[in-house]
């Protein structure tokens, strides 16, 4: 198990280096000069050329890549071209906020999505199943910026119980986390329902029931554990997406997280910042997938890590 962990972490290193190369190379292909953008509409050509040299943008791609790798190995993520601050500091400010939002949202997904799916699966075709199916379809179909604004009008402007946007207190977290969780709740509820229905039709459930095991035990020990594997896989993907920055939710609720940072970095052609964001994103996905893989062992004892 331990050597498995080490191996998975080591595999992540070349992956991250590859990701950095793709980022640097793709920026080379994209039109738009960061120096010109930083200097604004009224800059002279020579000022732009000077800034390009200062930022090292006049050097060849491979030289820049080699430099970046050397710096990364020393734990240096570089400085943002636009903000002129270390990328690590900027990420240190934004990532915790995104983690807060993602954490709250994924908790909602677990607490609401899975129970809804279970309830629906227990009585397929009943009125409650139909209600849950319609509601989750609606949750999936409503665009985030629309639900976000509707929530603001209802809860902030009319009822005055939550702040409209921004960060600061736990109250600030309510609307954005619910908005962010809604589509995921819908996905997980539908996923849970279909998986549970499938598992319930399996032979071993019939066998368990035939053995006279209590229904509760059948459901919790036999059904739920087997159903959890696909659910956890999807949950992991959702969490990865949320940690990567929920651009729309963060924009609507003025939540200064990784999502908005990504958009800022792209629009300003801020290479080092973009690299930092992508690195964090890659690490998050590696980490979340590792956790998901490890959790399989928890639900299914047949899974072995070697």
């Amino acid at each position: 198990m331990f050597s498995y962990l080490i191996r998975r972490i080591l595999i992540a290193v070349p992956l991250l280096l590859g990701v950095v190369f793709i980022v640097i190379a793709s920026f080379d292909l994209v039109p738009g000069d960061p120096a010109a953008l930083i200097l604004g509409e009224f800059a002279t050509e020579s000022a732009v050329a000077e800034l390009r040299a200062e930022l090292g943008l006049d050097r060849p791609l491979l030289v820049r890549y080699a430099d970046t790798v050397v710096n990364l190995l020393q734990g240096d993520l570089g400085r943002s071209l636009t903000e002129r601050r270390p990328v690590a500091v900027i990420l240190g400010e934004t990532f915790p906020l995104t983690a807060q939002l993602a954490g709250a949202a994924i908790a909602l997904v677990l607490l609401v999505g899975i129970p809804l799916g279970l309830i629906a699966a227990m009585r397929p075709g009943s009125w409650i199943d139909n209600v849950i199916r319609v509601v989750s379809l609606a949750g999936l179909s409503m665009p985030v910026f629309w639900t976000g604004l509707v929530f603001m009008v209802i809860f902030s402007v009319n009822l005055g119980i939550t702040p409209v946007s921004g960060t600061g207190t736990w109250r600030h977290l309510i609307l954005p986390s619910v908005t962010l969780a809604l589509p995921s709740i819908a996905v997980i509820a539908r996923m849970t329902r279909s998986t549970v229905l499938e598992v319930l039709r399996e032979d071993f459930i019939r066998t368990a029931r035939a053995k006279g095991i209590s229904e509760r035990s059948v459901l919790v020990k036999h059904m739920l554990r087997n159903a959890m594997i696909p659910i956890v896989t999807v949950l992991g993907l959702q969490l990865g997406q949320m940690l990567g920055g929920a651009v729309l939710t963060e924009t609507v609720f003025a939540w200064p997280g990784v999502g908005r940072l990504t958009v800022f970095a792209i629009f300003n052609r801020d290479y080092p910042l973009m690299q930092g964001v992508v690195m964090v994103l890659a690490m998050v996905y590696v980490g979340v997938n590792l956790l998901v893989d490890l959790s399989y062992g928890l639900f299914d004892p047949r899974v072995r890590y070697a």
């Binding site: 994209v30 039109p31 738009g32 000069d33 010109a36 953008l37 930083i38 200097l39 604004g40 509409e41 009224f42 800059a43 002279t44 050509e45 020579s46 000022a47 732009v48 000077e50 200062e54 636009t82 903000e83 002129r84 601050r85 900027i90 400010e93 934004t94 910026f145 976000g148 604004l149 603001m152 009008v153 902030s156 402007v157 005055g160 702040p163 409209v164 946007s165 921004g166 960060t167 924009t251 609507v252 609720f253 003025a254 200064p256 908005r260 940072l261 800022f264 629009f267 300003n268 052609r269």
Partner: protein, 522 residues
């Protein structure tokens, strides 16, 4: 009894303290983007200036009526045609305790003129060479050659005087916590979330009425306006135009606006054969209903442009475009016929080979209010006059790079230009002198007219404001005929406020925000 008394005394003090706490006047302002820095050395856009101009003050400034007012200078005069002398305000200290004097002024200008790392605003200062110290409280601003706009150059908020002590100590970090002499001092910056300033108790002009100012970043338009309605913010900069009528009729809100110094225009590239003929350009002008664009698309977010520079700008003259080129698609077709085109069977104009007249458009996208919608409308207007338009819509970074390129493979482009110094020279010289070509400068229409060159050079070199004004008027008359660009709408600087905010007057120059007299009343 004595105990009771002391308890009462303590309670009274506590109550007073609480009272003071409650009476804290905080003005919360919502705007769409965070600055990238609070150091004018690195940041010359409005979101930066709104904040740093509360902290850093220039020697002189222009007020809302476009009159020059002293800030850190009490007096100023030209001592010859390249030298402007300032008498500095005495007894002023920076908020870190450093005394303000001629050294600080020189330090600030030298900093921007640094060879290794010139300030972003250096290129806006024309032929200025720098500051010379005369004595502790007298400095000369010196230009390499006679430079008419020199006085207005010194009003740019980027020239705000920085504390030399703080700038030396903090280096790059000065941009995260600037120190100046202004009415407010820096408290905290939470990136992309909020910037907090507090009143400078020792401000030479008197402590501001507000105790704190909080600039919040709320990128989404709808959320910004809802924050105002919910009372979470007191002022919204760049509010949604379509929301303004509802706010104006609501007694809880006030809308303050002023015609600005920006002009959005449709520009021609005279290097391209299709639009090299002035009759084609005039036909395009006749084909566009500019009034309809302003009314239906901008909904009060802009005003009909009457010249290539805004009305508050020095040297402005009404180009009488509505009279010269009224909306008349039939007249447009006639002009195109004069230019050698014929009416084709499908409604489009065709050249002598029977090929359709097609103009390629590179529109501003994501930079100015409703620029994309305007581009689509222009396309439809031109099609109705028989001119087909093909357009390439890119995100702003790409569009901007194409626009400032040495060659431009488009017949038309659209763009907003702000006359940042409020002096016509700033726009006219870089845009219309025949040698000021991209990428070094901004004559993107490749306009060349010997008379205009001569007038603009004379206007730049003259210190006689009447003479300069007359020269700029002549240029505008010429441009009204030659039409290298068709001005569409002028910027309208507008803020939406809660009705209990008093003393705020919108400024024609977008990046100037005067919060010193602003107060919140109950």
């Amino acid at each position: 009894m004595r105990h009771v008394r002391s308890v009462l005394a303590v309670l009274t003090v506590l109550a007073l303290l609480a009272g003071v706490g409650l009476a804290q006047k905080t003005l919360t302002i919502a705007r769409p983007t965070d600055p990238v820095s609070l150091d004018p050395h690195f940041e010359t856009t409005a979101p930066g200036s709104w904040v740093f101009s509360q902290i850093l003050e220039p020697l002189i400034t222009v007020n809302q009526d476009m009159e020059i007012e002293g800030r850190l200078a009490t007096d100023w005069e030209f001592i010859d045609d390249t030298r402007l002398r300032f008498t500095l305000r005495q007894g002023v200290t920076f908020s870190d305790g450093t005394p303000f004097d001629a050294e600080a002024v020189k330090y600030t200008w030298d900093r921007a003129w640094d060879e290794e790392r010139p300030g972003r605003w250096k290129s806006l200062a024309g032929p200025v060479e720098g500051v010379e110290i005369v004595d502790d409280y007298t400095v000369d601003l010196v230009a390499a050659q006679p430079y008419g706009p020199l006085l207005l150059t010194a009003t740019m908020p980027y020239t705000g005087i920085v504390s030399p002590t703080a700038a030396e100590e903090l280096g790059d970090d000065f941009g995260r916590q600037p120190v100046g002499t202004g009415p407010f001092t820096f408290v905290e910056w939470r990136a992309n979330d909020r910037i907090t300033l507090e009143a400078n108790d020792d401000y030479w002009g008197g402590r501001p009425n507000l105790d704190r100012v909080v600039f919040r970043t709320i990128p989404e338009e709808g959320a910004r306006m809802l924050s105002l309605r919910a009372g979470e913010v007191d002022m919204v900069l760049m509010p949604t135009p379509s929301d303004l009528p509802a706010l104006e009729s609501d007694p809880n809100f006030v809308v303050e606006g002023a015609p600005g110094v920006g002009v959005f225009y449709l520009a021609f590239n005279l290097d391209r054969d299709a639009v090299a003929d002035v009759r084609v350009r005039q036909a395009v002008a006749h084909a566009i209903d500019r009034e309809l664009i302003v009314e239906a698309i901008l909904e009060g977010g802009g005003v009909l442009a009457t010249s290539v520079i805004g009305e508050p700008v020095f040297g402005y003259k009404d180009m009488e475009l509505l009279e010269r080129y009224p909306y008349d698609p039939e007249r447009a077709r006639e002009l195109l016929e004069e230019a050698g085109y014929a009416r084709g069977s499908d409604g489009f104009m065709v050249d002598e080979n029977g090929d359709r007249l097609v103009l390629e458009l590179l529109p501003s996208n994501g930079r100015s209010l409703k620029d994309r919608e305007i581009a689509e409308t222009l396309q439809e207007f031109l099609r109705q006059a028989g001119i087909d338009v093909e357009m390439d819509i890119f995100e702003w970074a790409t569009t901007f790079e194409l626009m400032r390129g040495a060659t431009l493979d488009y017949d038309l482009n659209s763009f907003t230009w702000f006359t940042t110094t409020a002096d016509a020279d700033y726009t006219m010289y870089s845009n219309y002198v025949s040698t000021e070509l991209p990428p070094a400068s901004w004559n993107r229409w490749r306009y060349a007219n010997d008379d205009v060159d001569e007038w603009l050079k004379a206007a730049r070199a003259s210190l006689d404001m009447d003479e300069r004004e007359e020269l700029y008027h002549r240029v505008q008359d010429q441009l009204a005929h030659d039409l290298p660009a068709i001005p569409l709408y002028g910027s309208y600087e507008v803020a939406a406020l809660r009705a209990n905010v008093e003393g705020f007057v919108a400024h024609p120059i977008q990046y100037l925000l005067d919060l010193h007299p602003v107060d919140i009343v109950d």
